[in-house]
């Protein structure tokens, strides 16, 4: 493969694609990126076997042709270290020479024919919406998904497509975040899939600032996200997602309400986290007329509390939560006010900062 390209442009796209590469793999080819050049167009493809990312750009400063499979980590470090405006890649024996300015690298690659083919989409259904809106939904939900494998389908995000609405739900079994967006999806019947977190993280990297249209397409085992210049394909998470509707508190399940300044509460939770300890941490929210006390105590460590003035007139109650669950939520939501609705110390608490998204958190009980 031969390639001449502006260095910054190449680096941006390489960085985004390479983020999906595993650092080590039983299939060494997966630690490579596939660089394909045709005229003024460059494509960089990376996959971990489940998520495939293909970034492409066209620029008049680009020329070359062919394909090369090069080690992602090494290539990325090399390009990052270069200071020239342009760089070039050229075959040399079985390897590739990477040059630009004062820099010279010789990189051993693999046979590009061995690089896994990008899975076909053959979409059965699909929809379109502004990328920023979708990334917003991801932001409001992804933090609640389970980080580890083991709890089946909890390490993905449920994407439910309704004729008039798109809903994302993530849960780790102890808390659940749901965010919905009114959008004319064009589908006739509601369906849902579970998308791996890592696939959505690739979209988050694109940023949510512009109103680029995002196309989402579905096939039996695959979801494909496309915006100009980027394609993300992810194998769906297998296994059943729990019935989230069954655990959504109804009005009667959360009769009491208090509204708090989000940042003020976030600060109080952050302080409480300091003295909550690492193992099985708990923060107590104590409500009494006009006041919310946020406190924590850990044997052998110490204690802390913050008193917030709030508009509350119900009975005295103390509910304990994992402070990390509250902290992540409060950090993520962009709105200034948060409403907390609850029943008692043993029941789910419901947090919301806008009409279309809710966060259900189970308490720590004795």
């Amino acid at each position: 493969m031969k390639l001449e390209t502006p260095r910054d442009l190449f680096l941006t796209h390489l960085q985004a694609a390479a983020s999906v590469c595993p650092t080590r793999s039983t299939r060494p080819i997966l630690t490579d990126v596939l660089v394909s050049v045709e005229g003024q167009r460059v494509e960089i493809t990376a996959t971990d076997g489940e998520i495939t990312v293909r970034r492409s750009y066209e620029h008049e400063g680009v020329s070359g042709e062919g394909q090369a499979a090069l080690p992602a980590g090494t290539l990325l470090s090399a390009v990052r270290s270069m200071t020239s405006d342009t760089l070039s890649l050229e075959p040399q024996g079985g390897a590739h020479e990477l040059t630009g300015g004062k820099a010279y690298f010789k990189l051993q690659g693999d046979d590009p024919e061995l690089f896994p083919a990008v899975p076909e989409v053959n979409a059965e259904r699909g929809l379109e919406l502004p990328l920023g809106d979708f990334v917003g939904l991801c932001q409001r939900t992804m933090f609640a998904a389970a980080r580890e494998m083991g709890r089946y389908a909890f390490n993905g995000v449920l994407l439910e497509v309704d004729p008039k609405e798109l809903t994302l739900v993530a849960t780790d079994g102890r808390r659940l975040s749901k965010a919905a967006l009114a959008v004319d999806t064009g589908v006739t019947e509601r369906f849902s899939v579970v998308v791996p977190l890592k696939g959505l993280q690739q979209l988050q990297r694109l940023g949510a600032s512009d109103d680029t249209q995002l196309r989402i397409e579905f096939r039996q085992t695959l979801v494909a996200f496309s915006v100009p210049g980027t394609e993300v394909r992810a194998l769906l998470v297998e296994g059943e997602f729990p019935d989230f509707r069954a655990v959504m508190p109804k009005e009667a399940d959360v009769p009491s309400t208090v509204t708090v300044d989000r940042q003020e509460l976030a600060g109080a939770i952050q302080r409480a986290t300091i003295t909550a300890g690492d193992e099985g941490p708990a923060v107590a929210l104590s409500l009494s007329a006009g006041s919310l006390r946020v406190a924590s105590r850990q044997e052998g460590l110490g204690e802390s509390r913050s008193d917030l003035v709030v508009d509350y007139s119900g009975d005295d109650v103390e509910i304990r939560f994992n402070p990390l669950f509250l902290g992540e939520y409060l950090k993520t939501m962009p709105e200034t006010q948060v409403t907390f609705r609850f029943k008692d110390r043993a029941s789910a608490g419901l947090f919301s900062s806008q009409e279309s998204s809710v966060y259900v958190v189970m308490p720590i009980t004795s």
Binding site: T26, P242, G280
Partner: protein, 399 residues
Amino acid sequence: MTSARLILHADMDAFYASIEQRDEPSLRGLPVVIGGLGKRGVVSTCSYEARVFGVHSALPTAIARQRCPQAVYLPGRIAHYAAVSAQLRAIFEEFTDLVEPLSLDEAFLDVTGSARLFGSGEHMARRLQDRVAEELRLGVSVGVASNKFVAKVASDREKPRGITVVPRGGEAAFLAPLPVRSLWGVGPATAERLTALGVHTVGQLADFEHARLCAALGDGLAAHVSALARGRDDRPVIVDREAKSIGRETTFEDDLVERASCHEILLRLAEDVGRRLRAAGLRAHTVRLKLRHPPFVTLSRQVRLDQASDDELQIYREAQALFDAARPSRRPVRLLGVTAADLRPASEGRQAELFGAAADTRGAAVREALDAVRVRFGASSVRRAGTGADTDPEAPGAS
């Protein structure tokens, strides 16, 4: 990352047997074997006179009797040994507050802060031996090193009444000639994988290419063993090991073969462990299974729970899952043990679940398994707490 430490590992020489010889002069100079004397009994310790005949701890007593019929066989007096062990601990604490007993007869001492008072590690080891000899009239071997692992290996080097000092920086060279099996965390399976890579000694392991090691062992284990192989071990000496775990095990007069029978025993052990956890106001974050195939292949498997638990059914189902995964089909089972470790006070509270048992895909399997046990052994079998009727004296209490 940590500042330079000085660690002693003190390991009593033939502790139980030496106590018997000390207390009963007629036993001195004779081979003495302490252990289970029943059909399934094993040697727990023996005097150096018996070791000459090939008797060693963990050897089935029946074989020991063949090898050394003239030895004096004693069942042992655990309560007495524990009392001596308490005296021993008092001596250790003359040197430092940081004493971590591993069992009745060995302990780690972090003497980093004591050097100014007592001098070099070797000097302290010498003094420790003198104190144990004059106070208890017993022998102890001491390893001196910059960390726990190397100190422990060192204490075993010159037994009895030996002192082995591994100077800082000399750890890797000291360990290099040892077989890889001497590393903590390298069991037979891992050793086999290392052998396949041509790695037999600790030194070879230390020099081995890390990426290939990761590929063979997985990142976590690879990092762990290569650190140990280079003589690195940052684990601190942990002072209070009181009630670090609550466990129960039982050895069978006749090996078990039926899966359901094994499950039933596990359930009884789990019930007992659960009951003792609740009685102590504790919950466990780790469930450990011990499984022995005849004649003497012992496996240990553990799982970390999402949430600390004192629920015997949960402990049971974790132990059962570990058992099913660890035991090759129908291989006879001689011993089963269930231990709850990583204990926390129950007062810490319990994180409530959103979806309850319905969302737990394993829930159904557990109920099925319980039902199967009930069908086979009658409804009472799964409600009755373990009676311990068929447990043997080696069953540990809170350890």
